[in-house]
Amino acid sequence: MDREALLKRLMAADFALHETVLFLDVHPKNRKAMEYYRKMQAQREELAEQYRKNFGPLTYYEVKSGEWNWTDYPWPWQN
């Protein structure tokens, strides 16, 4: 998958996850929402891992190599 396509899938997963977060904040006992959260969380983690490996870190916590590559990749508004 190219960067653009993978990024779009990650954004979509993040959006679904965030939407569920807003619901869960005020409906913490809703089982169905919690199940959906866990499902999207796993999906998000998988996509994020794939992105990190191929296109660089998304947060500075993810800079795991011995080289400082946080600023090597373009910033999100640069294209």
Binding site: K8, M11, E19, F23, P57, L58, T59, P76, W77, N79
Partner: protein, 173 residues
């Protein structure tokens, strides 16, 4: 604390500069109903909110507003890239340009700089949530104006009104 997630909430890929459009869109950054004010509103109100569920909603929505602000700034940035001096003048961007060149400055389309007078933080749960709903209802005003240009962005903001109406009010009732 916050940590930066190095991506936009929704992709912004603008090919052609359009300073006239940027002059209008910038209001969604620093205007009276812009994303800067939205994020500061929720993130300021959360400290005195008496219910942890609502604090959660204010924290997570306030954080998302920062991401909206980033998208709006990305739009303005891309719309004002590679402008010629002629385009700056013809498209009415000269007044902004003389003060800020193409730097992102939080200002309304009318030219008024961003001001904290555009929101309240009262320390009263009901008053604050009512204000939050009124603020998110302003997206219905923006819909016929800006949303033709960036509909997905407006839809993002409008969801919060529904979130407050359906969730925050029952949570404290």
């Amino acid at each position: 604390m916050w940590i930066y997630d190095k991506k936009l909430q929704y992709p912004i890929n603008i090919k052609n500069p359009n300073a006239a459009l940027a002059k209008l869109i910038i209001s969604q950054f620093g205007g009276p109903d812009g994303e800067l004010g939205a994020s500061m509103r929720y993130l300021s109100q959360r400290y005195t909110m008496p219910y942890r569920e609502v604090i959660g909603a204010l924290t997570d929505i306030g954080t998302e507003e920062l991401a909206h602000m980033e998208m709006v700034c990305a739009i303005v940035y891309q719309l004002t890239r590679n402008l010629t001096p002629e385009q700056i003048k013809e498209q009415g961007f000269d007044a902004y340009f003389v003060d800020h060149t193409t730097g992102l400055y939080p200002v309304a389309a009318s030219g008024v700089p961003w001001n904290a007078n555009t929101f309240q933080s009262t320390g009263d749960a009901i008053a604050d949530i009512m204000e939050d709903m009124a603020a998110d209802a302003t997206t219905t005003k923006e819909q016929p104006t800006i949303s033709r240009i960036r509909k997905p962005l407006i839809l993002l903001a409008f969801r919060h009104f529904e979130a407050f109406r359906k969730n925050a009010i029952p949570a404290i009732a």
